[in-house]
Amino acid sequence: MDSNAVSSIKIITWEGKIGIERVKELKAELLKEFSLVRQVVVSLSLVSTIDVTGIQLLYAAHAFSLREGKQFHLTGTVAPSVEEAFVSGGFIRGSCKEAKDLEARLFEASTGEASA
């Protein structure tokens, strides 16, 4: 039996340095998986560093999943060096060790509480 036919979720494990050299290939992989399954999950557990191109790709994939009626999630643990990239770029505030929390904070609505 080829089990691909019934697979509906794909966990893509990003590994090592996520930067400008690899984002083309990662974009292609994400697009391919979105065409095959209803839910794509990117595991960040093995990522050692990430730059702005990698972060942009996550935002782009999230927005794409909303338009296509699919699901896009992050999973795994966030390495300190990766966390640092998100924090120093202001994408998240404070410590975040889990990709699930990272996802919630990255993609949350941008209108917060104003003491106007």
Binding site: M1, D2, S3, N4, V6, S7, I9, K10, I11, E15, G16, I20, V23, K24, L26, K27, L31, S43, L44, S45, L46, V47, S48, D51, V52, T53, Q56, L57, Y59, A60, A61, A63, R67, T75, G76, T77, A79, P80, V82, A85, S88, G89, G90, F91, G94, S95, C96, K97, E98, A99, K100, A104, A109, S110, T111, G112, E113, A114, S115, A116
Partner: protein
Amino acid sequence: MIEQFKDAFKEEAVELLNQLEEKLLELEESPLDKEIISSVFRTMHTIKGSSAMFGFESISRFTHEVESIMDSLREGKFIADRGLIDLTLETRDHLRDLLNDPPKASPELESASSDLIARFKAFTDRRIAEKRAADGEEPEVVEVKAAKPEAAGTIQGKEESKAVVTYRIGVQPHPTILNNGTNPLLLVGELAELGDCTVTPVLGTIPLLDAIDPQSCYVGWMVVLSTTKDENAIRDIFIFVEGDCDLKVERITDRDLIGDEPPKKIGQILIERGITSPEKISEALSEQRKIGEVLVEKNVVTADQVKSALEEQDHLRKLHEKQDQSTSIRVGSDKLDALVDLVGEMVTLQARLTQTTNAFKDAQLSSITEQFERLVSQLRDNTMTMRMLPIGTTFSKFRRLVRDLSADLHKEAEIVTEGAETELDKTVIEKLNDPLVHLIRNSLDHGIESPEERRAAGKDPKGTIKLSAAHAGANVLVTVSDDGAGLNREAIYRKAVEKGLVGANVEIADAELFQLIFAAGFSTAKTVTSVSGRGVGMDVVRREIESLGGSVGIETVPAKGTKFTLRIPLTLAIIEGLLVKIGDGFFVVPLQSVDGCIEIKSSEASGAGKGRAITSYRGDLLPYIGLREFFNFETTPPEIMQIVIVNALESRIGLVVDSVIGEYQTVIKPLGRMFHDVEGLSGATILGDGTVALIMDVNRLAVMKNREEIHTRSIATSGRG
């Protein structure tokens, strides 16, 4: 109370002695470095002073004598050589013994102190005399003093008198900025080094996945920076990307910030006057629409602009609230451990609350639970961060080990460390010590050749052992490598056959063969030395690393050297898992190993527990293990089952389970003694409803299956022969 101070003194003294050891080893490398000599002297002086204060007379007397000798060294009366370093290291060890003794040392230790001082004095007198004899020929002492960079975000010294000014900085890199290797995150990070900084990315222009050019930069930043530096310092950061980036720097008028109380909000005043209660105000506020939402809805501003304005408001508020705070406090590790335990319990309880809330389907309760979940998650992350220590605290010990051991073995070797700042959970670091000692001893004894052999092979007579650490996602990779002779494949194979681990004439891959050196009692050494050769040690390495949930990899090149890579989880306390069900039992598969899930009919999966069955997964063959059979579940399986595909030991295998429930954050509890012998499980956890779930050790499951396969192959081969 005084006992508490004494404990604190001891703790601090141990840290100082560790620093002293490090400095002495540095001094051996650079004997003329005045900065290091002064630092050694200062350490002795500090120990002397504080030991006297807390009544440790023997330590105070002893360090007084050593301090005088160090003073002579500082004055250049003689030069630090290996003999002096040996004696001072001995002194350092002796001080540790004295610390473990009561304030008035035992007669044996007192006598050891006198003996050490006498030897020290004789040694230095001799060196001073030699130096005098050769006076004028000694090289001039060179002062090496590195200018210390100003700490990021701190305002010190002259800067103290300067006023803090807040700037609003808009950074919009051009799309092509990345082509010339510029990293905008680093530029923004440099701004943070100028002072208190709030960074907000502007994301509005990022296209969707199908339209994005992934190598272009779409993100911009709004930064609010409070600094004593002037505008030029800000612009200087962007000086090399002027043509590739739009930069706007504005000074924010913040005259009302410092010293003034912010005006009270209307709700606050109404509560203070007793007109209404805090609950009523909260209720009213929850119904009130946020101005940002309204403006975004009316298309007056974008969501990014609102976010950025909010961040600016927050930044200014924090600046206002900022008060002098002490930078750090010392907390006992037992208190931290207790805190982690409590947080662990809280995470479990929170999971239970979430589960209960879901059953109620009450919007208000759900909202509170979500907020609570977020808070618990932040609390957990912060607590875990507190337990993180740089691995360098362990690395520094090994310099001494290599120094002393290479002398014992009549070899020349140095240790090079990399990534000492890599942080790991304190408990993991503690458990890492023994495996690293074994690996380094093994490298020195078996890996690094004698200076004569190295010369003959055209190598530097001095061998190098490299100890490095780096983060790789949820793991830390610690490597111990040497530039020695490499593993002897033939000798290992012969030994493996002799020990019956591999059948004669059985072909075995290098990776599988080299893993056998971790078997208990396995040693290819012809002679047993005090260092190694008994076959104890490498099995300890694997056992300890596996007990940490990690794995050990080996790479070796004949005549070039060997590299051991330890992959260790960052923390032992909490993991992300995939919750699955088999029969009426719940199991957790560590999420970092999971590649995906596919379905399989139970009729196809049955019988897979006793051997490995095969299916196809994305064009590849996927061997899988039926966990129903493996764990002896005898109930009827569901018609459709799930295969969880996991990466284990450089390969991919499937684990057949009844159903996949979903992602689950797991607080790891150790299995009781009764379950120590159960293979394939690494711990347990308590689910939201109080049920116990067992955590699978996927590497162990794969090892057990591989072992079975090697055994089957051996039987098959011997049967044919």
